[in-house]
Subunit: 162 residues, 2 copies
């Protein structure tokens, strides 16, 4: 049994109660940028309803070219105007050894990736760096309302840091 | 009032009912790759509980270097073994004019981005291309259980396409 099978069965029950199409433009004009971490149910922890906000997630919730691409489309084609960046405690990227990670790939005979794993040592400082990176990006259209938080996976609480 | 203020107020109530820390390793050993679209509450539509799966999201749910980076970390450091790729109907990237998008940036005097907007014309075909891209990536460790779906924002149903 594939990992997806149980989820697909659930989805049929979800669709039974699904209340139809909503506009493609997010009604809160908001984009959330956060980590892929399994302990973060973004809609639940922020109280987001369907149709309200874009959600961009990657390893760390860090600002990469792909996050800038996604935000540029979110702002320039789908009219979002605010950004919330959320890292979290106990992140897999905290103090990940980048050189060991790249060396592991090399040992398997693969070409070195063009990307770095993008680890960090201080979660608060990294949120501040990400927020600053977004504020100074020439590709974004709306940079006035960008705020940075850390989610505590122990308590479920957000703490504003930037 | 910033877009975030109401969400932060909600989060305090969320934390009141939050039932504490869970392991960093996703218990279903699964990673979901999907679009940032506001009509997709990934946990709800798949029936995912906290701690079960990584969720990677960008504009389109397309495979980029940053998705490969995130998946490589997910599989090599956090022991996930399965991937589900989900695009959706009525996507903002469907037939987005890439040249016009890049020209808009140029007209503002910004350097051309190193990334392309990454639009697509056929959602089923793009899911298949993304799944194939993941299966052949040398950076991933587990490529046997990778499945591709389209989510219908009108009905709430998933349809398997790859």
């Amino acid at each position: 049994m594939s990992a997806a099978d149980e989820l697909i069965e659930h989805n049929v029950r979800y669709a039974d109660k699904y209340d139809g199409p909503r506009p493609v433009i997010p009604s809160r004009h908001l984009t959330v940028v956060t980590c892929m971490d399994s302990r973060m149910d973004v809609h639940a922890l922020l109280g987001l309803d369907l149709g309200e906000a874009h959600v961009i997630r990657n390893a760390g919730g860090v600002v990469t070219d792909d996050v800038i691409r996604s935000l540029a489309i979110s702002q320039r084609r789908l009219h979002t105007q605010s950004v919330v960046v959320i890292h979290h405690t106990d992140c897999g990227l905290l103090n990940l050894d980048e050189d060991a990670f790249v060396a592991e790939l090399a040992a398997e005979g693969t070409e070195p990736p063009t990307w770095r794993p993008r680890s960090f040592a201080d979660v608060d400082a990294d949120v501040a760096e990400c927020v600053a990176g977004l504020r100074s990006s020439p590709y974004l259209k709306a940079t006035d309302d960008i705020r940075g938080f850390v989610f505590d996976v122990g308590t479920g609480l957000l703490r504003e840091v930037a």
